[in-house]
């Protein structure tokens, strides 16, 4: 059997980790099952992703497709066509615009990702606390996360001073945080919707000598951040998970599904969890690049 895997290219840390896990899983499964063949493509945009999927169908005769859609709407019809051709479809993370196309759905929960951070702020910050937000690359994912975050803050009396795009990028986040620090004499907390940005923000705070004035909450569970939590860093009290390893789960389950070894189908939604000093050890993976 041939399984096609189509995921976004490693254009930021989380996607990089996704690539890492996908590659390792494929290597492992190929070594274990000589019958299984994988086609991995990484893509930089929805249009190219559609092309990649077309190629897999036209030239590689795939039996199953594991896809993390770059965007929902544009990929829906093309994936529908693949599914109509009798190919097993597993959708990862980003749901399609139409229900019932995929055989298997494995996903994180972006709303929960933002909501978990928001809830933490609502519960742990004082009324009137001031927060700045670093958003990701303008996209659906980012919108969902921010919506969840804002919903959780509703009525908490916490003031969001500013929201700008840090593009899931350390360097951009560094500059953005420097400017926030110049602009606002008082900041109580930073929500960086991704750990890469949190790293940049932390460096800027440290440079300005304002460590201790504010906390930074990132997301996705990057190794360095988890380590800081584990070590009781007061600036980084918690983090929110969004495990890139979900791709491994998806690929493994798909392999099981197409080989008929076990009946798998349905939805697996992995809600975001709060990493705290107490459970940090469980989320720390020494060998992961992320």
């Amino acid at each position: 059997e041939t399984i096609g895997v189509s995921i976004p290219a490693a254009t930021h840390g989380w996607a990089g980790a996704l690539n890492y896990h996908a590659e390792r899983t494929i290597e492992r499964l190929e070594a274990a099952n000589p019958d299984l063949d994988f086609v991995l493509t990484t893509t930089s945009g929805p249009s190219q992703q559609v092309s990649d999927i077309e190629d897999m169908v036209a030239t590689r005769n795939i039996d199953a497709l594991v896809v993390l859609p770059f965007e929902s709407e544009p990929l829906t019809a093309p994936i529908q066509r693949v599914a109509d051709g009798g190919v097993w479809v597993t959708v990862v993370d980003r749901g399609l615009a139409q229900e019932g196309i995929e055989d298997l759905y494995v996903a994180g929960d972006n709303d929960s990702f933002g909501r978990t951070a928001g809830t933490y702020f609502a519960e742990n910050l004082d009324d009137g606390a001031k927060v700045v937000v670093m958003r990701g690359i303008a996209s659906e994912v980012d919108n969902e996360r921010v919506a969840g975050f804002e919903a959780a803050l509703e009525g908490s009396g916490i003031e969001v001073l500013a929201m700008d795009h840090g593009n899931w990028n350390r360097d951009t986040a560094f500059g953005l945080m420097q400017d926030y620090l110049s602009r606002f004499p008082e900041i109580d907390a930073v929500w960086a919707a991704d750990d890469d940005m949190a790293v940049g923000a932390l460096a800027a705070i440290e440079q300005a000598g304002r460590t201790g004035e504010m906390i930074v909450v990132g997301g996705a569970g990057m190794k360095e951040m988890v380590a800081r939590i584990r070590d009781n860093d007061t600036t980084v009290p918690v983090d929110v998970t969004y495990p890139p390893a979900m791709i491994s789960t998806a690929i493994e389950m798909t392999a099981l599904g197409v080989s008929g070894a076990a009946p798998v189908s349905g939805e697996f939604i992995i809600a975001s969890e709060l990493i705290t000093a107490d459970n940090a050890e469980d989320f720390y993976f020494e060998d992961s690049p992320y």
Partner: protein, 334 residues
């Protein structure tokens, strides 16, 4: 130094021209041969159709770009412009369908709007470059940022999608066709032929080359330099509009990532095809070959398992360079 290169030019030219003419073709043939060797399905009907149809967007834009570059200009904004026009078109169609239902008329109006918007965007670039005298690179870098921002803003950071009724009504424009050829392929082919004729056999094409070669000489030869330059940008805008008309039915949506880096791909295709970046000489068929080369590379990479998908970009880079080496001038001088 010169002694060598100059003395060579005369003798070398005959030979050189040949190589420069067939260079891109050779690269294309080599890629096709590699494809055939790598995968028996490479020349299958469905793969060939897929590759050709998806080349159409960049291809159509690159045809317009050939004229701009031949006349000594450049346009970095086409990718963002395509995204913006697609966004406008989708919003307008969705809005119209509220009152008019999911009808063909709505789609036709959308098409007219896309073509008009492309034209207008090209006109704005052109007029600012020719009348206000702003360096094309910088101006279009600016408008690139502007259109990209506008589409992000229109889509509120997310995706603008065509209503599903309209979407299924419109999708045959990408997926349908006649005689086994899908519409994008037909449109691309027709525009390529038309472009080649215009470039080679009309006064407009000649004037583009003359302007790119030496603007002052063109002006002294009573060529309407500013008008022709403006026209190249308008034409490019129009071709962006046409590309959008073929693109929207494919995915039914537009977002901040639509058309990302299309400008670089289009420019690369034009240059791989043998058009001079500094202007003065352009050929549309070369551009078509260039577009096909670029599409084939990524298709080939999907045909096989390479060491690591991370290295795709590297292989692409190497092939682009090799394709140009094949048709480079014989010496370093130029």
């Amino acid at each position: 130094m010169s002694a060598e290169s100059i003395s060579n030019t005369g003798a070398a030219r005959a030979r050189k021209v040949d190589l420069r003419v067939i260079g891109p073709l050779v690269a294309l043939v080599v890629l096709i041969l590699i494809g055939v060797m790598l995968n028996p399905n490479f020349l299958s009907y469905s793969n060939v159709t897929n590759v050709l149809a998806r080349s159409a967007f960049i291809g159509i834009i690159a045809i317009g770009m050939t004229f701009v570059i031949t006349a000594g200009g450049l346009d970095l904004s086409v990718g963002s412009m395509a995204a913006f026009v697609a966004g406008l078109m989708i919003m307008a169609m969705n809005w119209l369908s509220v009152s008019m239902g999911d009808s063909v008329v709505v789609i036709l109006l959308g098409i007219v709007l896309a073509l008009g918007a492309g034209l207008a965007a090209g006109f704005i670039n052109g007029i600012l470059i020719t009348r206000a005298g702003i360096e094309a690179f910088i101006l279009t870098l600016g408008t690139m940022g502007i259109y990209r921002s506008l589409i992000t803003w229109l889509a509120d950071g997310g995706t603008l999608s065509l209503g599903s009724g309209l979407s299924s009504l419109y999708s045959p424009v990408y997926y349908g066709g006649i005689l086994g050829l899908s519409w994008p392929i037909i449109v691309f082919a027709l525009l390529a032929i038309l472009g080649e004729i215009v470039m080679r056999h009309t006064a407009f094409g000649r004037h583009c080359a003359a302007i790119g070669s030496n603007e002052k000489v063109a002006r002294y030869s009573s060529v309407h330099v500013q008008r022709v330059k403006l026209a190249t940008y308008v034409l490019l805008g129009l071709s962006v509009g046409i590309a959008v008309v073929m693109y929207v039915p494919r995915l039914g949506s537009a977002s901040a990532t639509t058309g990302l880096l299309w400008e670089l791909e289009a420019i690369a295709a034009v240059i791989i095809g043998g058009t001079l970046l500094k202007g003065g000489f352009g050929r549309v068929w070369g551009t078509v070959v260039g577009v096909l080369i670029l599409s084939l590379i990524s298709n080939l990479l999907n045909l096989t398992d390479f060491v690591s998908p991370y290295l795709n970009g590297a292989i692409q880079g190497v092939v682009i360079i090799l394709a140009v080496v094949l048709q480079r001038n014989s010496g370093p001088a130029r």
